[in-house]
Amino acid sequence: MSSQKNQETPPTDTAITDPHHWVQNHADYLYSYAITRINEEDQARDLVQETFLAALERLDKFEGRSSERTWLTSILKNKIIDVYRKNSSGLGKKMVNLTVEEQDQDFFDPYDGHWKKSHRPEPFGIEDHDPLMNKELNSILKKCMQKLPALWLSVFTMKHIDDETTDLICAELKVTPSNFWVIIHRAKLNLRACLQKNWN
Protein backbone atom coordinates (compact mmCIF):
# COMPACT_ATOMS: atom_id res chain seq x y z
CA MET A 1 0.00 0.00 0.00
CA SER A 2 1.21 3.50 0.75
CA SER A 3 4.51 4.63 2.13
CA GLN A 4 5.26 4.91 5.82
CA LYS A 5 5.87 7.93 7.96
CA ASN A 6 5.44 10.14 4.97
CA GLN A 7 2.52 12.19 6.21
CA GLU A 8 3.54 15.44 4.53
CA THR A 9 3.33 14.27 0.96
CA PRO A 10 0.34 12.05 0.56
CA PRO A 11 0.96 8.81 -1.29
CA THR A 12 -0.40 8.61 -4.80
CA ASP A 13 -3.57 6.72 -4.00
CA THR A 14 -4.70 9.27 -1.46
CA ALA A 15 -4.32 11.90 -4.12
CA ILE A 16 -7.54 10.48 -5.59
CA THR A 17 -9.24 9.64 -2.37
CA ASP A 18 -8.53 11.76 0.65
CA PRO A 19 -9.17 10.02 3.97
CA HIS A 20 -8.30 13.20 5.85
CA HIS A 21 -11.56 14.69 4.64
CA TRP A 22 -13.74 11.60 4.48
CA VAL A 23 -15.76 12.41 7.54
CA GLN A 24 -16.26 16.01 6.56
CA ASN A 25 -17.24 15.12 3.01
CA HIS A 26 -19.22 11.94 3.34
CA ALA A 27 -20.17 11.04 6.91
CA ASP A 28 -23.59 12.72 6.85
CA TYR A 29 -24.40 11.25 3.48
CA LEU A 30 -23.43 7.73 4.52
CA TYR A 31 -25.29 8.11 7.78
CA SER A 32 -28.52 9.10 6.02
CA TYR A 33 -28.04 6.23 3.63
CA ALA A 34 -27.68 3.78 6.48
CA ILE A 35 -30.41 5.14 8.74
CA THR A 36 -33.06 5.03 6.02
CA ARG A 37 -32.31 1.37 5.51
CA ILE A 38 -31.52 0.18 9.00
CA ASN A 39 -33.75 2.48 11.03
CA GLU A 40 -31.55 2.16 14.10
CA GLU A 41 -29.41 5.12 15.02
CA ASP A 42 -26.62 3.40 16.89
CA GLN A 43 -26.29 0.66 14.35
CA ALA A 44 -26.28 3.16 11.49
CA ARG A 45 -23.48 5.13 13.17
CA ASP A 46 -21.47 2.00 13.72
CA LEU A 47 -21.87 1.08 10.08
CA VAL A 48 -20.51 4.45 9.01
CA GLN A 49 -17.48 3.94 11.18
CA GLU A 50 -16.97 0.39 9.96
CA THR A 51 -17.26 1.62 6.41
CA PHE A 52 -14.46 4.14 6.82
CA LEU A 53 -12.24 1.65 8.60
CA ALA A 54 -12.84 -1.01 5.95
CA ALA A 55 -12.14 1.54 3.25
CA LEU A 56 -8.83 2.43 4.87
CA GLU A 57 -7.80 -1.17 4.68
CA ARG A 58 -8.36 -1.32 1.01
CA LEU A 59 -7.23 2.10 -0.06
CA ASP A 60 -5.07 0.40 -2.66
CA LYS A 61 -8.17 -1.09 -4.25
CA PHE A 62 -9.67 2.29 -4.94
CA GLU A 63 -8.91 2.94 -8.55
CA GLY A 64 -10.66 6.20 -9.07
CA ARG A 65 -13.01 4.66 -11.58
CA SER A 66 -15.95 5.71 -9.50
CA SER A 67 -16.17 8.72 -7.29
CA GLU A 68 -14.96 8.47 -3.74
CA ARG A 69 -18.52 8.69 -2.47
CA THR A 70 -19.76 5.94 -4.76
CA TRP A 71 -16.92 3.73 -3.62
CA LEU A 72 -17.62 4.34 0.07
CA THR A 73 -21.34 3.82 -0.49
CA SER A 74 -20.72 0.46 -2.10
CA ILE A 75 -18.74 -0.64 0.94
CA LEU A 76 -21.54 0.56 3.20
CA LYS A 77 -24.08 -1.22 1.06
CA ASN A 78 -22.36 -4.54 1.61
CA LYS A 79 -22.32 -3.93 5.32
CA ILE A 80 -26.04 -3.21 5.26
CA ILE A 81 -26.66 -6.46 3.42
CA ASP A 82 -24.71 -8.25 6.15
CA VAL A 83 -27.09 -6.72 8.68
CA TYR A 84 -30.09 -7.80 6.64
CA ARG A 85 -28.70 -11.28 6.50
CA LYS A 86 -28.12 -11.42 10.22
CA ASN A 87 -31.53 -9.98 11.04
CA SER A 88 -33.37 -12.35 8.80
CA SER A 89 -31.66 -15.60 9.58
CA GLY A 90 -34.09 -16.32 12.40
CA LEU A 91 -37.83 -16.14 12.44
CA GLY A 92 -38.41 -14.73 8.97
CA LYS A 93 -36.97 -17.71 7.21
CA LYS A 94 -39.21 -20.19 8.91
CA MET A 95 -42.28 -18.33 7.87
CA VAL A 96 -41.28 -18.39 4.25
CA ASN A 97 -41.08 -22.14 4.27
CA LEU A 98 -44.82 -22.29 4.67
CA THR A 99 -46.64 -22.98 1.46
CA VAL A 100 -48.13 -20.09 -0.40
CA GLU A 101 -51.60 -21.29 0.49
CA GLU A 102 -50.93 -21.35 4.20
CA GLN A 103 -49.39 -17.92 4.13
CA ASP A 104 -52.15 -16.18 2.29
CA GLN A 105 -54.94 -17.89 4.09
CA ASP A 106 -55.70 -14.90 6.19
CA PHE A 107 -56.21 -12.73 3.11
CA PHE A 108 -57.82 -15.14 0.70
CA ASP A 109 -60.34 -17.89 0.88
CA PRO A 110 -58.37 -21.15 0.91
CA TYR A 111 -60.80 -22.79 -1.51
CA ASP A 112 -61.42 -20.32 -4.28
CA GLY A 113 -58.68 -17.74 -3.75
CA HIS A 114 -61.13 -14.87 -3.41
CA TRP A 115 -60.46 -11.99 -1.07
CA LYS A 116 -61.96 -12.73 2.29
CA LYS A 117 -64.63 -10.20 3.05
CA SER A 118 -62.79 -8.90 6.09
CA HIS A 119 -59.58 -8.32 4.13
CA ARG A 120 -60.85 -6.74 0.97
CA PRO A 121 -59.04 -3.59 -0.07
CA GLU A 122 -61.05 -0.45 0.35
CA PRO A 123 -60.20 3.00 -0.91
CA PHE A 124 -58.18 4.96 1.61
CA GLY A 125 -56.88 7.88 -0.32
CA ILE A 126 -53.90 6.78 -2.39
CA GLU A 127 -55.79 5.40 -5.36
CA ASP A 128 -56.04 8.17 -7.87
CA HIS A 129 -53.82 10.95 -6.69
CA ASP A 130 -50.49 10.85 -5.02
CA PRO A 131 -51.12 11.69 -1.43
CA LEU A 132 -49.26 14.56 0.09
CA MET A 133 -46.25 12.99 1.70
CA ASN A 134 -46.70 14.51 5.09
CA LYS A 135 -45.02 13.57 8.32
CA GLU A 136 -47.93 11.54 9.54
CA LEU A 137 -48.14 9.40 6.45
CA ASN A 138 -44.38 8.91 6.41
CA SER A 139 -44.35 7.65 9.93
CA ILE A 140 -47.27 5.28 9.34
CA LEU A 141 -45.57 3.91 6.26
CA LYS A 142 -42.34 3.40 8.18
CA LYS A 143 -44.13 1.75 11.07
CA CYS A 144 -45.96 -0.59 8.74
CA MET A 145 -42.69 -1.54 7.07
CA GLN A 146 -41.11 -2.25 10.42
CA LYS A 147 -43.90 -4.67 11.21
CA LEU A 148 -42.86 -6.94 8.38
CA PRO A 149 -40.71 -9.94 9.28
CA ALA A 150 -37.04 -9.04 8.96
CA LEU A 151 -36.39 -11.14 5.89
CA TRP A 152 -39.38 -9.71 4.06
CA LEU A 153 -38.35 -6.19 4.91
CA SER A 154 -34.82 -6.90 3.66
CA VAL A 155 -36.10 -8.31 0.40
CA PHE A 156 -38.57 -5.48 0.01
CA THR A 157 -36.00 -2.78 0.74
CA MET A 158 -33.34 -4.21 -1.53
CA LYS A 159 -35.81 -4.50 -4.37
CA HIS A 160 -37.86 -1.35 -4.04
CA ILE A 161 -35.37 1.10 -2.63
CA ASP A 162 -32.03 -0.09 -3.91
CA ASP A 163 -33.26 -1.54 -7.18
CA GLU A 164 -31.07 -4.59 -6.76
CA THR A 165 -31.49 -7.45 -9.18
CA THR A 166 -33.56 -10.41 -8.14
CA ASP A 167 -30.57 -12.71 -8.63
CA LEU A 168 -28.41 -10.69 -6.30
CA ILE A 169 -31.07 -10.51 -3.60
CA CYS A 170 -31.70 -14.25 -3.78
CA ALA A 171 -27.99 -14.98 -3.54
CA GLU A 172 -27.26 -12.54 -0.74
CA LEU A 173 -30.24 -13.45 1.41
CA LYS A 174 -30.29 -17.11 0.43
CA VAL A 175 -33.84 -17.30 -0.79
CA THR A 176 -34.99 -19.24 -3.82
CA PRO A 177 -36.46 -17.27 -6.72
CA SER A 178 -39.90 -18.69 -6.08
CA ASN A 179 -39.71 -17.73 -2.41
CA PHE A 180 -38.52 -14.32 -3.49
CA TRP A 181 -41.79 -13.69 -5.35
CA VAL A 182 -43.83 -15.11 -2.51
CA ILE A 183 -42.12 -12.67 -0.16
CA ILE A 184 -42.60 -9.70 -2.48
CA HIS A 185 -46.29 -10.55 -2.78
CA ARG A 186 -46.79 -11.24 0.87
CA ALA A 187 -44.93 -8.15 1.99
CA LYS A 188 -47.13 -5.93 -0.14
CA LEU A 189 -50.36 -7.57 1.02
CA ASN A 190 -49.36 -6.89 4.61
CA LEU A 191 -48.06 -3.41 3.99
CA ARG A 192 -51.21 -2.41 2.14
CA ALA A 193 -53.46 -3.84 4.81
CA CYS A 194 -51.49 -2.06 7.52
CA LEU A 195 -51.76 1.27 5.71
CA GLN A 196 -55.48 0.89 5.19
CA LYS A 197 -55.95 0.07 8.82
CA ASN A 198 -53.82 2.84 10.27
CA TRP A 199 -54.41 5.71 7.96
CA ASN A 200 -57.42 7.95 8.65
Binding site: D28, Y31, L53, W181
Partner: protein, 91 residues
Amino acid sequence: MNELKNIIYNCRKATFLIEKKQLTVLTLREKVELRIHLTGCSICRLFQKQSIGINRMVHELFHSAQHKELKLDENYKKKLQERIEEQLDKN
Protein backbone atom coordinates in the same frame (compact mmCIF):
# COMPACT_ATOMS: atom_id res chain seq x y z
CA MET B 1 -58.89 -23.90 -20.00
CA ASN B 2 -59.29 -25.07 -16.49
CA GLU B 3 -56.19 -23.21 -15.39
CA LEU B 4 -57.29 -20.10 -17.16
CA LYS B 5 -60.58 -20.30 -15.37
CA ASN B 6 -58.64 -20.67 -12.19
CA ILE B 7 -56.95 -17.32 -12.42
CA ILE B 8 -60.04 -15.55 -13.63
CA TYR B 9 -61.60 -16.17 -10.28
CA ASN B 10 -58.45 -16.26 -8.19
CA CYS B 11 -57.52 -13.01 -6.46
CA ARG B 12 -54.52 -14.52 -4.75
CA LYS B 13 -52.92 -15.34 -8.07
CA ALA B 14 -53.96 -12.03 -9.56
CA THR B 15 -52.41 -9.96 -6.79
CA PHE B 16 -49.27 -12.06 -7.08
CA LEU B 17 -49.07 -11.17 -10.76
CA ILE B 18 -49.76 -7.51 -10.00
CA GLU B 19 -46.68 -7.45 -7.78
CA LYS B 20 -44.58 -9.37 -10.24
CA LYS B 21 -45.58 -7.11 -13.08
CA GLN B 22 -44.22 -4.05 -11.30
CA LEU B 23 -40.79 -5.57 -10.99
CA THR B 24 -40.32 -7.71 -14.05
CA VAL B 25 -41.89 -8.63 -17.37
CA LEU B 26 -44.76 -11.08 -17.23
CA THR B 27 -45.03 -13.92 -19.70
CA LEU B 28 -47.61 -13.49 -22.39
CA ARG B 29 -49.82 -16.02 -20.69
CA GLU B 30 -49.57 -14.25 -17.36
CA LYS B 31 -50.39 -10.95 -19.01
CA VAL B 32 -53.51 -12.33 -20.59
CA GLU B 33 -54.60 -14.02 -17.41
CA LEU B 34 -54.13 -10.91 -15.36
CA ARG B 35 -55.93 -8.73 -17.85
CA ILE B 36 -58.93 -11.02 -17.90
CA HIS B 37 -59.01 -11.15 -14.13
CA LEU B 38 -58.79 -7.40 -13.75
CA THR B 39 -61.57 -6.84 -16.24
CA GLY B 40 -63.93 -8.70 -14.00
CA CYS B 41 -62.58 -7.90 -10.54
CA SER B 42 -62.89 -4.38 -9.18
CA ILE B 43 -61.29 -5.31 -5.86
CA CYS B 44 -58.06 -6.37 -7.53
CA ARG B 45 -58.18 -3.28 -9.73
CA LEU B 46 -58.29 -1.25 -6.54
CA PHE B 47 -55.47 -3.34 -5.09
CA GLN B 48 -53.39 -2.62 -8.16
CA LYS B 49 -53.88 1.12 -7.89
CA GLN B 50 -52.96 1.06 -4.23
CA SER B 51 -49.99 -1.16 -4.79
CA ILE B 52 -48.56 1.16 -7.42
CA GLY B 53 -49.22 4.09 -5.09
CA ILE B 54 -47.43 2.38 -2.23
CA ASN B 55 -44.39 1.72 -4.38
CA ARG B 56 -44.26 5.37 -5.30
CA MET B 57 -44.64 6.43 -1.68
CA VAL B 58 -41.90 4.10 -0.52
CA HIS B 59 -39.62 5.37 -3.22
CA GLU B 60 -40.32 8.98 -2.42
CA LEU B 61 -39.96 8.45 1.30
CA PHE B 62 -36.50 6.98 0.97
CA HIS B 63 -35.14 9.19 -1.69
CA SER B 64 -36.33 12.41 -0.14
CA ALA B 65 -34.89 11.29 3.19
CA GLN B 66 -31.63 10.82 1.40
CA HIS B 67 -31.74 14.36 0.03
CA LYS B 68 -32.46 15.85 3.38
CA GLU B 69 -29.21 14.42 4.68
CA LEU B 70 -29.68 13.67 8.29
CA LYS B 71 -26.74 14.90 10.24
CA LEU B 72 -24.43 12.83 12.31
CA ASP B 73 -23.55 14.17 15.70
CA GLU B 74 -20.56 16.56 15.40
CA ASN B 75 -18.80 15.00 18.33
CA TYR B 76 -19.11 11.60 16.84
CA LYS B 77 -17.74 12.86 13.57
CA LYS B 78 -14.75 14.40 15.27
CA LYS B 79 -13.93 11.16 16.99
CA LEU B 80 -14.43 9.28 13.79
CA GLN B 81 -11.95 11.43 11.91
CA GLU B 82 -9.46 11.02 14.76
CA ARG B 83 -9.86 7.30 14.49
CA ILE B 84 -9.17 7.47 10.79
CA GLU B 85 -6.06 9.59 11.34
CA GLU B 86 -4.84 7.05 13.89
CA GLN B 87 -5.22 4.28 11.38
CA LEU B 88 -3.49 6.31 8.71
CA ASP B 89 -0.56 6.92 11.02
CA LYS B 90 -0.24 3.23 11.68
CA ASN B 91 0.14 2.38 8.03
